[in-house]
């Protein structure tokens, strides 16, 4: 198990560097540059910019300079937000995305696991049908529809919550609900499917035959196997949530990382793009590793050599 973890951890670094290299290549292929705007720059100004950022050097020199900085963990300064380092921007905005993301995921887990489990236990009941239809609705209702709808009802109809911006507990209620809807729906459906399969398996029949009461069967044996699909979903889902969710951040004007990431691409802000991509790829690989480790605890049949 330990050697497995170490092997996986060691591979993360070269993988992240590969991802950075590919991203760097893609940025270079994309037309346009960070300094161009609607107004034309005098030739002298453009030349000064290119010189300052080393854009007048051959590409391999630029690549080498970039890589040697990144290996040392320094992504440099943002080209658009001058005087701010990439590391500082990520560090500053991650907590916003993480707060919203983790809360939304916890809420989604609470709703999804409960609804999914009950739906599986009472298959084909009214609860099953209604909760699964709601889940279908949750899946198909995009954030940019649900968010404004919640604003309309709770900010302008009932005046319970502010319509947008960060500030206090009440300001994150609507974004968290908006964000969690789709995940809750997905988790409910995964849990239901997983539980249905597990409840019919032999080891559950054995547990029941041993005379265990239904609650113990459910919590000690069935749930552990039933939520494995949810666990594999959790890795990438959490990574995506931590990195920010553009739509919710836009609708509620939150200073999260997702919006900054999208804008960095639109601005051709190379250091910031590379920094966020590297951060994201490492995050995803770590969460996937965590998921793989969790499998071992949840399902005794899975063992790592």
């Amino acid at each position: 198990m330990l050697s497995f973890i170490i092997r996986r951890l060691l591979i993360i670094i070269p993988m992240a560097l590969l991802v950075v290299t590919l991203t760097w290549g893609l940025i270079r292929i994309a037309p346009g540059n960070f300094y161009s705007g609607e107004k034309k720059l005098p030739a002298a100004v453009e030349a000064n910019i290119r010189k300052k950022y080393g854009l007048d050097q051959p590409w391999y020199t630029q690549y080498g300079m970039m890589m040697s900085n990144i290996v040392r963990g320094d992504f440099g300064d943002s080209l658009k937000y001058q005087g701010q380092s990439v590391n500082e921007i990520i560090k500053r905005h991650l907590p916003y995305s993480a707060t919203i993301g983790i809360l939304a995921y916890l809420l989604a887990l609470a709703i999804g696991l409960t609804a999914g489990t009950i739906a599986a236990l009472k298959q084909n009941s009214a609860f099953d049908y209604s909760s699964m239809s709601l889940a279908m609705l949750g899946l198909s209702l995009p954030n940019f529809v649900l968010g404004p709808l919640l604003v309309l009802i709770f900010a302008f109809g009932l005046y319970w919550f502010p319509p947008a911006r960060w500030g206090g507990v009440s300001s994150i209620v609507l974004p968290v609900i908006t964000l969690s809807a789709i995940y809750a729906a997905y988790i409910a459906r995964l849990t239901r499917a997983g539980m249905l399969e597990v409840m019919r398996s032999d080891y559950i029949r054995t547990a029941r035959a041993k005379g265990l009461d239904e609650m113990t069967v459910l919590l000690r044996h069935a749930l552990r196997g039933g939520i494995i699909p949810v666990v594999s979903f959790t890795g990438p889902a959490l990574a995506a949530l931590l990195a920010g969710t553009v739509v919710v951040e836009k609708v509620f004007a939150l200073p999260g990382l997702g919006d900054i990431f999208i804008k960095s691409v639109l601005n051709r802000d190379e250091p910031l793009i590379l920094g966020i991509v590297a951060f994201l790829s490492i995050l995803i690989m770590l969460f996937n590793l965590a998921v793989d480790i969790a499998y071992g605890f949840l399902d005794p049949r899975i063992r790592y050599e």
């Binding site: 034309k40 937000y81 001058q82 639109l266």
Partner: protein
């Protein structure tokens, strides 16, 4: 018909939702104001400023969202007037302008201070301008100041040529003797050098320089054996005559220059903070400012809070205690914040089209005035068939721009290069010159008035004359010869741009029988595509004026490598503009500029589309805030009115409605310059 009875719980839920939706709608329909309207408890203005500021260094960015924040934090020699954006005294209490409008002397007030308490002197302006033009500063707006002598040469790292102990001048090349120009203001050694004949400058880069010399034998011969001396910061035409007197010398007359000086590029930057903290000088802990407000709190992407600076020279006349700038870009979100009463005003161009019909009912809040901003479709004149002026004219005449404006709801149709209704004096000049031209050309007043109007018949005839016959069939017109497979309307991806393009596409199809395909691309991809003339047919071009003079629009087609993006270059047009700018009588200059505009409209490198509108909202209790042509708000005039009887009413007349407090403040400020002018 039988209906299923709703279950109690469900019906209760439905009732709550509907009731809440209904109350939401009803309250907005019945109320006089849009959403919650009550002044904030403190003297605070909460303002949505658009995108997150790139930096708090005023010399670097070129965006308007930043410009508005800089107007709170920094001052320059002059400030934009609250109503008309014309320059009013700021740190300079008065100024004198040379008769050729190429030298300016500014008298600074003696009580101006930085936020750290240090007095502001003329040397601070010299430092700021030198820094702005320094190549390593990489200011993107430095080009605005290129009228200052030797500034573009310093910015472009050029060199002077020194030979036999003196600098070579233009006189050494063409032999014209230097004229003796009398001094304007105190006669200093530095000023004598600037007044003297223009020095020759060459490329600083050796390769480029030898190329430059190869192409000009006379120049090469004159330079031979000379020494190359880099143009330095100390060479540019900015001089502190004493602590309170600043002189700026230009390379040529520039009547628009004073209006330009309120731009962020010309605002003061703090030498003490920049030298102490380097690129980190703009952080809240390090920053030193000189405007009416100083930084209180900065949380990027969330808010920037500024508070009244007690060190500010005019602090007694700053009415707001704080301004909170919120960087929000999503239009519906901004509308929600405003409706909920969480913000008091927001930036221009922000009410989404789908909200306009509702919002324009709130006559005490909705500000829709013409802007110094226009939309065009550039036509690539370097590629056939748009190299033919008949074709270009046909497409302009074949488009009903009034209908386009009505469709856009907030814009006005544009019929020339310069937007009308922004520069009243220039509009008069256009009328006068137009009348002269009409008589010269022997056209009836009716025909002349409609010369650029929508005229589908004339457009079809022009196309037919140009070799693309338009034929009428049962289903309308068609123009089978026209190469629609090659051309397109290209624009950057954006909902508004698309709807405009679709509207124009359908107009041309209906009126000319030509279906021009649409092509859309992401902004940063679009820019090089447009600027390097890769497009064929039409490309969208939006332009906001940089200063309050029609030249900011007319100069778009000036010079070989101009910004117009149509491949247009006409030496005659350039000469007309140069001559106009050398004219010292402002009325006459406007007439010469108007003549140039008529000339340009005959060439027609673009289809004029619309004049933008300000299109923003402010709560009626926010006073002293005006929808001027650039939505550039001098914040010290803004105040919160708590007496509801004095709230703004019918803001359509906001410019005519008297506001004694604001007017007194303005006239006290301008009095120093008026007294000096006498």
């Amino acid at each position: 018909m039988a209906k299923t009875r709703p279950k109690p719980l469900r019906s209760a839920l439905i009732a709550v939702i509907f009731a809440s939706l209904l109350t939401g709608c009803m309250s907005s329909a019945k109320s006089k104001y849009f959403g919650r309207t009550s002044p904030p408890a403190e003297n605070v203005l909460r303002y949505v400023s658009g995108s997150e500021p790139e930096t708090l260094d005023p010399q670097l960015p070129d965006g308007q969202p930043e410009a508005r924040i800089f107007m709170a934090l920094y001052e320059g020699l002059v400030e934009y007037g609250p109503k008309d954006q014309q320059p009013i005294p700021s740190i300079a209490k008065s100024w004198e302008i040379s008769s050729k409008v190429d030298e300016f002397i500014f008298h600074l007030r003696d009580n101006a201070k930085w936020s750290d308490g240090k007095p502001i002197t003329a040397q601070d302006f010299v430092y700021s301008l030198r820094r702005g033009f320094a190549p390593e500063t990489i200011s993107r707006t430095a080009g605005l100041g290129y009228a200052i002598k030797y500034s573009s040469e310093f910015n472009g790292e050029k060199v002077f040529v020194k030979k036999n102990g003196r600098f070579l001048t233009a006189a050494d090349i063409d032999g014209t003797p230097a004229k003796d120009v009398p001094a304007f203001g105190p006669d200093t050694e530095f000023n004598r050098t600037l007044r003297g004949p223009d020095r020759i400058t060459l490329e600083g880069d050796e390769k480029k320089r030898s190329k430059e010399l190869e192409s000009d034998a006379k120049l090469k011969a004159a330079v031979e054996g000379g020494e190359f001396v880099p143009v330095k910061a100390e060479d540019i035409g900015v001089e502190a005559i004493d602590d309170r007197t600043l002189r700026i010398s230009l390379r040529q007359s520039a009547p628009y220059f004073l209006g330009l000086l309120a731009h962020q590029f010309f605002r003061l930057v703090p030498r003490q903070a920049i030298e102490a903290h380097g690129k980190e000088w703009t952080r809240p802990a390090n920053i030193v400012t000189c405007g009416a407000f100083r930084i209180k709190e900065y949380r990027p992407y969330d808010k920037l809070v500024v508070e009244r600076d007690p060190n500010y020279w005019d602090a007694a006349n700053v009415h707001l205690d704080r301004i909170e700038f919120y960087p929000v870009e999503e239009l519906s979100t901004i509308m929600n914040l405003y409706k909920a009463g969480s913000v008091d005003a927001f930036l221009n161009h922000t009410v989404p089209t789908s909200w306009i019909d509702e919002v324009r009912q709130y006559k005490d809040e909705y500000l829709n005035f013409p802007e110094a901003a226009t939309a065009y479709y550039s036509m690539n004149m370097t590629k056939a068939p748009f190299s033919d002026s008949k074709v270009r004219r046909a497409f302009m005449l074949g488009l009903d721009r009034q209908a386009l404006s009505d469709f856009r709801k907030i814009t006005k149709p544009l019929f020339g290069k310069v937007p009308s209704g922004i520069y009243p004096e220039y509009d008069k000049a256009v009328e006068k010159v137009g009348e002269e031209l009409r008589k010269e050309r022997g056209v009836t007043p009716e025909t002349w008035a409609k010369r650029n109007d929508f005229d589908a018949e004339a457009a079809r005839k022009l196309l037919t004359d140009a070799g693309f016959p338009v034929v009428k069939s049962d289903s309308g017109y068609s123009c089978p010869n026209f190469p629609t497979d090659r051309i397109s309307i290209t624009f950057n991806t954006n909902e508004n741009n698309r709807s405009v393009a679709e509207f124009i596409q359908s107009q041309w199809k209906q009126n000319l029988g030509i279906t021009v395909p649409l092509k859309t691309m992401e902004f940063k991809t679009y820019l090089p595509y447009f600027k390097s003339l890769q497009y064929e047919g039409f490309a969208q071009f939006l332009w906001s004026g940089d200063y309050m003079d029609p030249y900011t629009f007319l100069s778009l087609q000036y010079g070989k490598d101009n910004e117009g993006g149509a491949g247009f270059y006409d030496a005659k047009y350039d000469k007309m503009l140069n001559d106009a700018n050398a004219e010292l009588d402002p009325d006459k200059r406007y007439e010469m500029l108007a003549r140039a505009e008529f000339y340009l409209m005959d060439q027609l490198p673009f289809v004029p589309l619309t004049i933008n509108a300000t299109n923003w909202l402010k709560k009626p209790y926010v006073k002293g805030m005006y929808p001027n042509p650039g939505t550039l708000i001098p914040w010290k005039f803004v105040y919160i009115e708590r007496d509801q009887a004095k709230w703004d009413k019918d803001v359509e007349n906001i410019f005519k409605t008297p506001d004694p407090q604001m007017e007194k403040q303005l006239s006290d400020l301008t009095a120093t310059q008026k007294a000096a002018a006498k």
